[in-house]
């Protein structure tokens, strides 16, 4: 068959989704001879500036290159640095394990809580880790709905980060109930007291928000993994590794790349993105209700839900940068995580960091404008009271640091971006510390005012969670594809359905 008749058959087919757009493009360039619309004369006088789309996969890498690159990480020999990091991470994680064993065997008094500060590091750490997770869902859900194609390079690792962050977060509320073996009382399971949970309490809402968040994040992650697991199944089978092939195949559900499957799969993926978007916004909103619904000055504010969500995304992107930049260097992923990706992440950090800075200012303004002396005292006390050191660490890390991302020179200095992302993480931990501890340490009755310091058990338990997180993340990068291969291929330039004219 000649090339001409093939084209004719193709053009006679009912219009495809992309072909309408292609026709429009032809009308502009005037290259299509059969264009039904006459070209407006004005267009000859217009000289549009070329605005090329950013290349998401550098150097025009082929589909096969992507598969080999991502699968190669799993199939290759375990690098030495992996074992070293894993051992260090496992050692650090043991701090959490030992801290919790000591806590359970002795009692919750081994933490530094004392009147009037009965919520402190446990809740700070919980809110901090949950917030970290939010960027993963933002990348996988909101950026998917907004068709931000650059998300494909980072979404798998960011979703893994979400899940592991939720694991670290869940440790703290579970153990701060005191008798952790009764933690199941949080869920409406019939118990011998015959009393049900109080659903008027935001703390109970939080149980549902966080457990839904964890579950849906795992489901979303798993659905994204299915096609990639199928690739690994076939590759391990061909390499003669039957056990690994069987294991990956078990979770791949027999995926065979059928387009009839892809059709349902894509629809399911969009719906999951659609429900994860209100989910991620609601989780930190409900976390903030834990504070906002109380009557304490400094907590009882309506700005909390949006402010917490912005802060969560800010800290989460800080963590994504902290994790992805070393991965990019270690696995030589510069063609997949390009400078454009780093720029995008820096700009979101800048935007959300600026929202957080605005919220800090607005809190002060409302404390003054609301003319409530207790509210006013709480905020003056935050900035100039006994915890002023924590407040100013927070301000410098969260308000000043992200502003540096305005400058292209800084965004292009990967090492510097990495360091700034650490500052963001530190700053957001201090934000939660400032909110929770300062309001409690100076409560209504001056005679009961106090100063909270963490105990050594608390300190080790918290820093150990970075080890827990790292152990999980290292296992992830060793055994699962760190980037969604199918999605990367779909955004590659050669995935287009039109031959080059």
């Amino acid at each position: 068959m000649s090339a001409d008749s093939t084209t004719a058959t193709y053009d006679d087919a009912p219009p495809l989704r992309d072909s309408a757009r292609a026709h429009a493009a032809h009308a502009h360039t005037g290259a299509h001879p059969a264009s039904p619309h006459p070209r407006p004369a004005i267009l000859d006088e217009v000289n549009p500036a070329p605005l090329p789309r950013a290349t998401l996969i550098a150097h025009g890498c082929s589909f096969n290159w992507i598969t080999e690159k991502i699968c190669g990480i799993i199939e290759g020999k375990t690098p030495t640095w992996w074992w070293v990091s894993f051992l260090v991470a496992a050692f650090v994680a043991s701090w959490t394990v030992m801290g919790l064993i000591y806590l359970v065997s002795t009692g919750v008094g081994v933490w530094g809580h004392a009147n009037p500060v009965n919520w402190a590091w446990d809740i700070v750490n919980f809110v901090f880790w949950i917030g970290i997770g939010h960027a993963g869902t933002l990348i996988s859900a909101i950026l998917c709905l907004l068709r931000q194609k650059w998300r494909t390079s980072i979404n798998r690792a960011a979703e893994a980060m979400t899940i592991f962050a939720v694991v670290c977060a869940a440790i703290f509320p579970a153990f701060h109930v005191g008798r952790v073996w009764f933690a199941w009382f949080l869920f409406p399971v019939p118990n011998s007291n015959d009393i049900w949970q109080n659903f008027r309490s935001p703390l109970e809402w939080d149980v549902f928000a966080v457990s839904t968040y964890g579950t849906v994040s795992v489901l979303f992650w798993y659905v994204g993994l299915v096609p990639d697991l199928a690739i690994l199944r076939d590759r391990f089978f061909n390499a003669g590794k039957k056990i690994r092939s069987w294991l990956y195949g078990l979770f791949a559900m027999g995926w065979r790349g059928s387009n009839r499957h892809w059709s349902n799969y894509e629809m399911a993926y969009v719906i999951l993105a659609g429900v994860s978007t209100p989910l991620v916004l609601s989780v930190h909103t409900i976390v903030s209700f834990d504070f906002a619904v109380s009557l304490l000055p400094g907590w009882h504010t309506t700005i909390f839900p949006p402010y917490f969500v912005a802060g969560a995304i800010f800290s989460g992107f800080g963590m994504v940068l902290t994790l992805m930049l070393p991965l990019r260097a270690l696995f030589k992923l510069e063609d997949l995580i390009t400078q454009y990706h780093i720029d995008c992440m820096c700009k979101i950090t800048l935007a959300t960091g600026t929202i957080v800075g605005y919220a800090y200012a607005m809190e002060f303004f409302i404390a003054w404008y609301g003319a409530n002396p207790y509210e006013g005292f709480a905020f003056i006390n935050r900035a100039f009271g006994p915890y002023a050191w924590a407040y100013w660490i927070m301000i410098s890390c969260n308000v000043i640091t992200p502003q540096l991302f305005w400058f292209k020179k800084i965004r292009r200095n990967t090492a510097l971006v990495w360091m700034l992302s650490i500052f963001v993480n530190v700053g957001m931990w201090f934000e939660r510390f400032v909110i929770i501890v300062t309001s409690l340490a100076r409560d209504f009755l001056p005679s009961s005012w106090g100063y909270y310091s963490p105990s050594v058990v608390e300190i080790f338990t918290f820093f150990g969670t970075f080890g827990v997180f790292s152990v999980l993340f290292l296992l992830f990068i060793r055994f699962l594809p760190i980037m969604p291969m199918a999605e990367l291929k779909a955004v590659a330039s050669q995935a287009g359905t039109h031959a080059k004219h």
């Binding site: 068959m1 087919a13 096969n64 598969t67 559900m253 065979r256 387009n259 059709s263 779909a490």
Partner: protein, 177 residues
């Protein structure tokens, strides 16, 4: 009648070739056929004549179930089975029941969507003739396949093979059951 192959599979190198071929197979009136692609190719659904996915209906049913389950659960637990007195607040109000019901809406929607997707795709199906094709790993990597099954009423080993060849398919192979 001699043993028919289960299906014929043809290979394509590039997405535009696959799209053209898919439109040809669709116009030839085949029903039991499929494309194997390493990633979702946009526009291929139209070229194949695949209808819009029915997953959203299942998701909607899941979401409605979740919301109603949340409201009913909270009414039963706090407003009916054990009337817990807290701060003079009503035993049941849809307002305080909303956040939990909202989360359950999302949870049930997510489960319904995923289960619905797998059920509609008839997965898990760990054994499938297509997976026995010795080049199938390329179909998840960088090649595109069209498979026409023998249960299609229009299937005829010679004519179908000719159609796939006309459409530009290479390495046309018979798949065993």
């Amino acid at each position: 009648m001699s043993a028919q192959p289960h299906a014929l599979i043809a290979t394509f190198d590039k997405t535009p070739d696959l799209m053209r071929a898919a439109a040809l197979v669709r116009d030839a009136g085949y029903k039991n056929w499929d494309c194997i692609t390493p990633f979702p190719v946009h526009g291929l659904d139209t070229a194949m004549g695949v209808e819009r996915s029915r997953v959203p209906r299942i998701s909607l049913a899941g979401g409605i179930t979740g919301f109603c389950a949340g409201m009913a659960m909270i009414w039963f637990l706090n407003g009916h089975d054990y009337k817990l007195i807290v701060g003079g607040k009503p035993f049941f109000s849809p307002l305080f029941a909303f956040p939990v019901s909202y989360e359950l809406t999302i949870l049930f929607t997510a489960f319904a969507t995923i289960i619905g997707m797998f059920v509609l795709n008839k997965l898990p199906m760990h054994y499938h003739p297509v997976l026995k094709y010795d080049q199938i790993h390329r179909g998840l990597d960088d090649r595109f396949f069209i498979v026409i099954e023998n249960r299609d009423p229009k299937f005829d080993p010679a004519a179908t093979r000719a159609l796939l060849a006309t459409a530009g398919g290479a390495h046309i192979t018979e798949l065993e059951e």
